[in-house]
Symmetry: C2
Subunit: 422 residues, 2 copies
Amino acid sequence: MVEELGALMQRMGREALAASRVLAVASASDKNVALLAAAEALRQRRAQILEANGLDMQEAQAKQLGRALLDRLLLDDRRIEAMSSSIEQIAGLADPVGTLAAEWQRPNGLRIQRVRVPLGVVGIIFESRPNVTADAGALCLKSGNVAILRGGSESQHSSRAIHECLCVGLGRAGLPLACIQLVPTVDRAAVGFMLSGMSEYLDVLVPRGGKSLIARVRDEARVPVIGHLEGNCHVYVDREADLDMACAIVLNAKLRRTGVCGAAETLLVDRACAPTHLPVLVQALLRAGCEVRGDDDVQRTDSAVRPASEDDWYREYLDAIIAVRVVDGVEGAIAHIERYGSEHTESIVTQNASTAERFLARVDSAIVLHNASTQFADGGEFGMGAEIGISTDRLHARGPVGVEQLTTYKYVVRGEGQIRPP
Amino acid sequence: MVEELGALMQRMGREALAASRVLAVASASDKNVALLAAAEALRQRRAQILEANGLDMQEAQAKQLGRALLDRLLLDDRRIEAMSSSIEQIAGLADPVGTLAAEWQRPNGLRIQRVRVPLGVVGIIFESRPNVTADAGALCLKSGNVAILRGGSESQHSSRAIHECLCVGLGRAGLPLACIQLVPTVDRAAVGFMLSGMSEYLDVLVPRGGKSLIARVRDEARVPVIGHLEGNCHVYVDREADLDMACAIVLNAKLRRTGVCGAAETLLVDRACAPTHLPVLVQALLRAGCEVRGDDDVQRTDSAVRPASEDDWYREYLDAIIAVRVVDGVEGAIAHIERYGSEHTESIVTQNASTAERFLARVDSAIVLHNASTQFADGGEFGMGAEIGISTDRLHARGPVGVEQLTTYKYVVRGEGQIRPP
C-alpha cells in the first residue's frame, strides 16, 4: 500500500515538474483566463460543492470533532462566493513573473537584469479549511508555480469539489491540469512523501496548520519550507501614549478577530503610566468580554484579573484571553518581547517619536507598528492582495507571503562577446 | 567529551545571539572601523600568520594530502595582502542594513516601509582554504550578522591566526568579540552540533566545500541553508553565432580558471553550424591543452577527442576537460540543459536576438548570459563586491551571495491610531 502511494506521489511530482516548465513561461492572460474561469466554475457548481461539504460535515459530526473545527470546515453560499471573489481578486493582481527587480550596466558593457521567475513546484500541506484549496491553488497559479495540495482528511470531499473547479479553469486556458494537483488520498503517509520523498520535484513546502503539523514539518522536511509559526503578538502602551488611542488599539488588536495570527496576545504597559492607564485598559478589556491574566500589579486593578503564570507570556491564545504585564518603559518592553515573542507582529502606542523609533528599530519582528493595531498583519491590508500566510521565517519571505514572495529571481546578462580578463 | 563539546557549542550560540542584538543596530562606521582595523592587523601579524600556516602545511604534508589541497591551504605574502585588501573592499561597500527596499502608503494613511535587517547568526562550515575565515567573517560583519565559523582541521592554525586579527578589529571598534567566532576544536562532531543541535541560535547555515560536506548538510541540517552546489555550466553555440566570438567565449569560459564554479563544463554546438564551427572550436580547445570528450559527431572531428559517456554530461570537472555535444538548435540546447544542468550559469552565443531571448527566458538557471563568458558568474563581476558564494538554491538568494543577500527585511508601519475595521 505504501509502495503504491509512493508511485502515485512520484507520478504527481514528475507531472508537476513537466507542468512547471509550461506554466513558468505561460502568459499573464492565460493564467488570468484560468483563474476567472475557475471563479465562475465555483459559482456554477455551488450545489455540488455544498453537497460535498455536507458529506464532510456529517463525517466530522460523527467523529464528534470540536465546534471550532466544524466552523472552519463549514461552507455556505457566502463562503463559496468569498472564495470565488478572492480568486477574481488574485486574477486582478499584477503578474510578478518576468518583472524586473533590478537592472544595471557594468563598465565592461554587460547589461545585468534581475528578473522575477516562479519558485517552481510548491507543496502545500493544510488542515481543515477547504477554502485553502482555492486560495493556495490560485496564488500559486498567478505566480507561475505548480501547486501540489494536500488537505486534511476532514475536508476531503469539499476540497475535491473545489479542486475540480480549478481544473475547469486550467482546461479553459489550455494549461496542463497538472498545474494544480490535489493529493487524492487521505493516507497520512502522503505527507511523509511530500516532506522527504519528493525533494527532486518540490522546490518549497508551505505548511498551514497547527503546532503538531509545523513541528513535524520542521523535523522531517528535506525541502525548503516557508513556515508560518505562532503569532504571539504584543501591544506596548508607553508612558506617552494617548489613552483613548491606546484603548482603541488594544481592543481592536485583541478582539476584532481572536483567531488570526495577528491578534495581540500580550499587553505591556509602561510602569510610568500604569497608575492612570492600566485600570482603564483592563476595564475596557473586561467589559468587552476578554479574560485578563496579569502580573501582581495588574491583578490589583480588578478582582476579575486572574494571575498570569510564566507560561502565559509565551501563549498564543487565539481566544478572548490576554496576558497583561507592567514593564519598565520601552526598554522593558523590548526585553520582554525579545524573550517571549515569536517575531511576528508588535505595536507600540506612544506620542513620542523617538521612543517609537527606538522600538521600531530594536524589535526584530516581521512587522513592527507605531500607533496602529496588530490586526493589520495581513497581506490584503498591506496592499499585496491575497496571501498564503504570514511567514515567521527570516529567509526568503518574512511577513505576508503574497504572489511576489512566491517568486524567486534569475540574472539575465546581455553582452557583445565579453570575456573575463585573467 | 561529546557532552563538553555540546556545552561549548551552546555557549557559543548563546553568546552569538546576545552579540547579534548589539551588532544588528551597530552603526555602519563602527563596523567599518572593525573591518579596517582587522585588515591592518592581518598585515601587521603577517609573520605570525605565516608561521601558523607553516604548521598547517607541515601537518598536511605529513598526512600526504594532495597537491590541490596543499595549494588551497598555502598562504604567502601575496595571499595575506589579498585577504587584507578584500576586507578593505568589503568595508567600502554600502551598508545594506537599514536601507529601504520599498515604501508605500495605504488609503487608511498607514505608511509601510520594507527595511533591510541582518539575518542574525550565520554558521559557516568550510574546508581547507583559510582565507574563508577572513572573507566570511568580514562579509557577515558588514551585513550585521554574527558569524560562527567552522573551518577544516587542515587549516586550523592559519584560521586561528586570521581570526585573531578579526578580533583585534572588533576590539578596536568596541564591538563584542562574539560577533565573529571560530569553533576552537577540530572535533568533527562540532559540525553535527551546527547542523542540528544549535537551531535556536543559528538563523542560517552556509556550507562551503565539496560534495560530501554538501550532502551531509542537506541530510542533517535543521537550520535553513544557503547552498552552493555544483556549477555544471554550459555554453551553447548557435547556428547564427559569430565564430570568432564563440571561440573566444568558449576558451575563456572553460580555461580562464578551471577550478571555479562558473567554469563551463559542457559545450553544446548547433547541428546546423557543426560542419563549419565544430572543428574550429574543438581544435582551439585541444590546442589550448583542454581534453575534449565528445559524442560521435565530435569524435569524428579529431582523433584526440575521447568518447563522452552519459555520465560526462553531468560532470563538474573543475579541470581542463570539456564535454562537447551536437544538439538540434536552441530547443535541443534547452532540453539538454534542463536534463543535465545544475541551474548555475549558462551562456548562448548567437547574433540572432530572438533565439537569444528564447534561451534566456526558457533556461531557468541562476545566471543566463547572451554573448558572454560563464566566468562572469561572480559577485565582484556583477558589481556586488565580495560574495560568500554562488547560490544554486531557489529560495532567498540565487546566484552571487553578497552583503545584500545576507540580509532579510522587516516591515515598519507608522500610523496615527488606525484600527482595522471588522
